[in-house]
Symmetry: none
């Protein structure tokens, strides 16, 4: 075999570590799913919840820039702007 024992062992450790972290990640993703499911069964709309979470995670400047662009495009297309 062209690869030496030392190197093979290092690779094995890296791979194992990443696979363990991937498992942890999968567990957390499952937990998140479960919270959304419980929230839904309590009567909350998961889609709106995702919207809220997204808004809270984005900083205000980005949101304003995005909204500004949307309004500019709407106006260019002759659509009415948000006035609400």
């Amino acid at each position: 075999m062209a690869i030496n024992t030392q190197t093979a062992e290092e690779l094995r450790l890296f791979i194992n570590r990443i696979e363990a972290l991937n498992n942890e990640k999968a567990n957390i993703v499952a937990d998140i799913q479960e919270v959304f499911t419980r929230a839904k069964s309590t009567g909350f709309d998961p889609k709106i919840m995702r919207e809220i979470i997204k808004i809270r995670s984005k900083d205000k400047i980005d949101l304003e820039e995005e909204e500004y662009l949307i309004n500019a495009y709407k106006k260019a297309l002759g659509m009415e702007e948000d006035n609400a």
Copy 2:
């Protein structure tokens, strides 16, 4: 073989027809991609364009309902509503 010639031929025709339609669909998807790419190189933001297209395809009532919910959730969380 357990399946008769007549049936096999029918299946073959259905499959062929679907595969042809899938090809047409793939071509159209590629065309859409190309338009987005050209729009981008002209200076338009594809993400905002997608937003606009989504807004135009949704009817007004759905949008208002969604916005109403978002504001209700924001208020429940002590976040400020959109007043812009």
Copy 3:
């Protein structure tokens, strides 16, 4: 506003074109659905048909992929790749 008449017209053309292509795509998707429906009423199982279509589209790709993976393994083990 940030978008002048010239630019607004360009944007309008891009959006219109994409919306038209989206409509074409929706029509084709509906056609595909209709073929599946007819096939089903003829006695074929749509799920199995989808499997067959998937297999047929993947067969060629899989062979190439397999060769690629073999080379990846070899490389990871310090063996030389096929260059043929």
Copy 4:
């Protein structure tokens, strides 16, 4: 407003929980990144490592899938499935 104090508190808890889990997830993703970076600086190719990890996670799934596809073919040809 449509959401009373009790309900608002429930919503707040759900959102907080999800945001906390999202943070944990982000930390793990950062850890994974860091392992790849260290492995790369040790001389391993991250792309190949990803391939290996993918292969290892798919190996078992692929075997089950292959068997399933064989049955799909048999069924499509009117032959009986394995029931073992």
